[in-house]
């Protein structure tokens, strides 16, 4: 891994690291780090900074689902046009083109199962070129984006040596 990949990796793990902190950690100039990040943002390498939240620990009603879509590809456009139509819905968290027995994975968020089910039935299923849908509700998240849910960091190390 080269230096810039290392910095990307550090930011991927913790986007709250400041340019000053990254500079000290990697023995670089603060200005160089700022330039690097700015360029990555401009080039679309860094697409955004988000926070991982365990909504189950809040009062917010929340459910997420993974939907398998079989899609008839369009001439010259493949699956892109359909994917684009789907990802424009704000309820849609992720859209992936898959290899294997179905074509698109869509990850949806809603307040209730009913809301998600309606979205699939009314928005996704009737969409042109969509052949079939299969909805799988997420019952519990154990780990997401490399973070284990439910664990809080407790330093169990004693002072012994």
């Amino acid at each position: 891994m080269n230096d810039s990949e290392k910095i990307l990796k550090l930011l991927e793990n913790d986007s709250t690291l400041t340019a000053e902190q990254l500079a000290a950690m990697c023995e670089k100039e603060v200005g160089d780090i700022k330039d690097m990040i700015e360029k990555y943002e401009k080039d679309g390498v860094i697409l955004g900074y988000k926070t991982i939240i365990d909504w189950d620990k809040t009062d917010r009603e929340y459910v997420s689902a993974l939907i398998e879509l079989k899609v008839a590809p369009q001439r010259d456009r493949g699956f892109d046009r359909v994917a684009e139509k789907i990802y424009n819905y704000p309820e849609v968290q992720s859209v992936y083109l898959m290899s294997g027995s179905f074509d698109l994975t869509v990850i949806l968020e809603g307040r209730t199962m009913k809301e998600v089910a309606y979205f699939v039935a009314q928005k996704l299923a009737p969409m042109e070129f969509i052949v079939s849908t299969a909805t799988h509700f997420v019952l519990r998240k154990y780990k997401d984006k490399g973070v284990i849910y439910g664990s809080t960091e407790v330093d169990e190390r004693g002072n012994y040596c």
Binding site: K6, L10, D14, L17, Q21, A24, M25, C26, E27, D155, R157, G158, N159, Y160, C161
Partner: protein, 388 residues
Amino acid sequence: MDYSKVLSKNVVALQPSGIRKFFDLLDNMQDVIALTVGQPDFVTPWHIREAAIESLEKGKTYYTSNLGLMELRTEIANYMKRRFSLSYNPANEVVVTVGGSEAIDLAIRALINPGDEVIVPIPSFVCYDPLVHMAGGVPVIVPTHEKDNFKLTAETLKAAITPRTKLLVLPFPNNPTGAVLDRNDLEAIADVLRSTDIMVLSDEIYAELTYGAKHISIASLDGMRERTIIVSGFSKAYAMTGWRLGYTLAPAEVTQQMFKIHQYGIMCAPTTSQYAAIEALKNGDEDIEFMTDEYNRRRRYIVNGLQSIGVECFEPLGAFYVFPNIGKFGMSSEEFCERLLYEHKLAIVPGTAFGASGEGFARISYAYSIKHITAALEKMEAFIKKIK
């Protein structure tokens, strides 16, 4: 019962370690940010833990050979060859021990006759002096200095040698200073020793945690293998402190004697830990690289942070400690650390816990997350501003 009559005079005479005293203060306080811990903050990599679980599932719950599983000793020999260009015969030059600590004890007890002198550089880990005492030897304490980057110099060594000198303890990369010895430093020390019968106990437990050049073992220098006992272990390199597994590497004649002590006192190192260690050595090189990279970033971050708040700090190139100079603040190390603890709830260890020459310094561990270190530096800054 009058216990003063029954207890061993040797043991009663041992002083509790200075570091223990400070940790006892700490244990009684709440909400302290500590930079005191001398062990990795990583959990042992999963594939290593899994190998241990698998060994239990397969019912590997018996004693192993006294020396340790032959497969493990072979892997240790392969590892030393691969990473430090050293050749040891797994059949009769390796003892698998209960941590590096047992390995140190074996080495000292196998060599020391009553009255033999053992040169112990300080600041250093707290166990050498008491273990030499227990073996009936005489520790000859040799301070290292900041002006020498806390290295043991050939001149200092030469001055400490007497006709009774039996052993030199060489604890590098060093806890608590983070000092390392490069090839030139080692050559100079070897030049002093080659014409003598003095043995070297090279404590290389932090060998994998270096941030400049790769660690060089003194045993790899011409004529030094025959007079060196390497002690090392899995705790620091693979984040395996709780598994209690270490080893000695020494010529067969010395190993034979250490083996006897180990056999009668210990039997064998824990079997489950030994299976975990085989996996660590076979497939753990990448874990070492990952953890070392992470420590290195924290090291740079904390050295930079200390300097920016006006605390001078020699650049440590090994282990996971910084050893800043706090002499200019006009109080003893102990007072500095106690005030920091009581007034700002930040715990670092007074340098004097590692020998008298640690006066004027403190040990700060960076085996902590960047967030934790940042919070600690803020507390330190507030304290420095107050006392300046």
